[in-house]
Every structure is written in C-alpha cells, then in structure tokens.
Symmetry: C2
DNA sequence: CGTCTATTTGAATGTACTCAAAAGCGGTGG
DNA sequence: CCACCGCTTTTGAGTACATTCAAATAGACG
C-alpha cells in the first residue's frame, strides 16, 4: 500500500528511505465502501488523499440535480477538493467511492509541516498540481471544441481500463451529456463498425 | 512596472528588498503590439510572463479553425502555456495581444534557479498554480452545468472591467458559443430589462 | 424469483450552429 | 469632409446536436 505511494512520489522527486518513512507516517489509511462518501457538499475538505484501491468520482450536483463529474481517481491517483482544502471553504463537490476503496489521507497541517521539513515535498506538490492543471486545461479545450461523439471515443481510447469499470451513467456525467444521448452515441458507433 | 510585480508576489509570500531585487533581475520586459503574438502554435513556450499593460488572450484553434479562448490575461495576471513550458512540448495554444501590451518575462532556467536560491519562490508558484487550477475547475463545472445565457451573465458580473475591453467575438470564443448566437443572447437579455 | 438499477428506444422539444446577408461603426486617405 | 474599407454586430432561415419525458428491456444481486 505504501509502496504504491512511494513509487508514485518517485516519479517526481527522490526521497531517501528515512525521508519517505517519516513522510509516510503523516498518512492515515481509510477504507470507504462503495457508494459511501469521502467528502460531501458543504463539508470542508481537510485532507489530500492517495488512492490505493478502488475508484472515486469527484462531482458537482447542479440546482437541477444533474451530476457533473470532474474526474475519476483510481489506484495511484491523488484525490482532494483543492478549492475547499486550500481555501477552507465548504465543498461544492462530492467525492464518492464507486467501488469498495482504500485511500491514504494526509491532513493540511501535516502537509504544511512536510513542506517545511522537506522542501522536496513542496516541489512534489507543485509539480503534481501543474500536471493536474495541464490535464484539466486539455479537457477544457476538448469540451469546448469537440462533439460528444468525439469526446466519448477519446475517453475510451485514453482510459480503456477505467472505461471497463464505469457505468455509462458515470461516463455520461463525465462527458457532460445525458445518459440517454450517450446510449444513442453508442448505437451509432456500434453501427459504424 | 516592477512595483506591480512586487505587489502581486506580496499577495502570496513576503520578499525582502534584496530578495525581490535579485528575483526581479530575472525578468525581461517586452512590448507586444496589438494583434501580435507572444506565443504561436507549434513553438515551445520558453517563458512565464507577468502582464504589466494590455490584455492577452490564450486560445486554441481547432481543426475547423474555430477559436477557443482558455483565458484572458490583463494587467496583474500571469500568462504562459504551462503545458508547453513545463513539458517542453510544442504549444497547442496561441497567446495574442488584444491591445498594445507589455509583459515581464522569466525564462525556465531563471525560474529553476530561483526555486533553488529562494524556496519562497517555489511556494509562490505552487500557490499560484493551485489558484489557477481552482479557477479552471470552477470554469469547467460552469461550462458543464450552465447554459450559454447564464455563462454570459456570469462573465459580465465576474469581469465587468474586462467585458468593456473585449469584443463580442472574443467573449463568444471564451464562452464557447458562436458570435451569432451570442448576439441573440444579448438581444434576449436586453429585452428582459 | 423479485427488486433495483442500468440501458435502450422513440417522439417531441429546445439549444446552439451554419450560412448568407444586411446594418453599424471607426478609421483612413483622397 | 465624406467615401470607402475592414471589421463587428445583428438578423433570419434552415439544420444539427443534445435534452426531456415516458416506457420498454436488460442485467445484477440478494
């Protein structure tokens, strides 16, 4: 479980055994059952999490009750509501387990301590935030410039393994289309083959 | 010009006069005339910029030649293509001056040096990237959950001063609608008053 | 088997786009 | 000074993309 975390960190910065061990003690392991929440709307997000098992969806419910999924976080991904976490604001987002899942959680104060004790951690999170931002920027462009058909095809190509584990309801909420329309897209694409 | 930069930095971290002076020498001032480019598609983005005068639009041209504006950067904003800059990839984005403009540019190597010499700078950019990411995340949710009418109304409320300086063509490209449709939205809204 | 949820389907509707054309507006040169 | 040019904005008609609602079908799970 902690090895997955170490490998993930190693992609960005190198920590000695002692450094990693110390940093790792800041994390608390938590199990979340399917359909349970890591964070609900209105709560303040007190953690940043690293997923070691399962999948979470991070989403917003609009006033019509429609769900917009910002992203999915499966094994080896980080998950938080960065807005709520950094600004101590009530969350506008839900973080829900789509399968029985496990995460390693670090609190804000432990993260701040780590920044001070180990500047490499500051670099780690700067680089991670940059990467996340780049990914979201690309998604924003796609969402503005591509049709739902193309976004669906892209999604399957980009996340084939994730696609297998998600329902069409969830994929539709991620793509920003109704699930009925996604069904029609699927029919159309199947007919083309 | 440099005072604007200093005030901007001061919002996040405090630098002594000596620290700021040293950091400031890393920046090169550059003037860009209206309709000229700070960065074109295909080029590798070698800088991060701080706008001291004018406005830039950061946009993508899709294969149909349609423009999607990711954001506008006016005085006191930072501008770069973070994807191209951090990953040394050819830019998929253009950065174009919408007015006669001025920016302070810092190169990648000078930024890396600053990270090492002055850890506060690492913190500065981590916090800035977080803020930018939060803003984009909110925009993503809005773009998925709101109609064009509402996004236009929100835009005017959120950026009243920017709205004055932009054409409807530019606002339409930011909102992700055709300019003809934006014109119809404007008529509808004007009729309601 | 029964229940709950996911998926598909069709019809009617709404939202936004494309294309073509006209009107408005600001600047520039004769 | 005004005639013309280029660019922005508006308008309308026709079309495409996507939603809503209602209902049928299919799967998953205890």
């Amino acid at each position: 479980m902690y090895q997955l975390l170490r490998d993930n960190i190693e992609q960005h910065v190198h920590l000695s055994d002692a450094e990693f061990s110390h940093f790792a003690t800041s994390f608390e392991a938590k199990e979340i059952e399917k359909k349970q929440f890591l964070l609900r709307e209105g709560e303040i997000c007190r953690f940043e999490g690293f997923v070691t098992k399962g999948i979470f969806s991070v989403y917003h419910l609009d006033k019509n009750g429609d769900k917009q999924i910002l992203y999915f976080a499966h094994e080896n991904w980080w998950v938080t509501n960065i807005d709520s976490f950094t600004n101590n604001l009530p969350s506008q987002l839900f973080i829900e387990a789509l399968e029985d899942s496990e995460v390693l959680l670090i609190s804000k104060s432990d993260k701040e301590s780590a920044y001070i004790n180990l500047p490499k951690i500051e670099k780690l999170f700067r680089v991670m935030t940059q990467k996340t931002h780049v990914a979201l920027q690309r998604r924003m462009i796609d969402s503005l410039s591509k049709t739902a058909d193309q976004r669906y095809i892209d999604f399957i190509e980009k996340y084939p393994q994730l696609y297998q584990r998600l329902s069409n309801l969830q994929i539709a909420a991620y793509l920003g289309v109704s699930h009925e329309f996604l069904s029609k897209i699927r029919r159309k694409i199947a007919g083309q083959k």
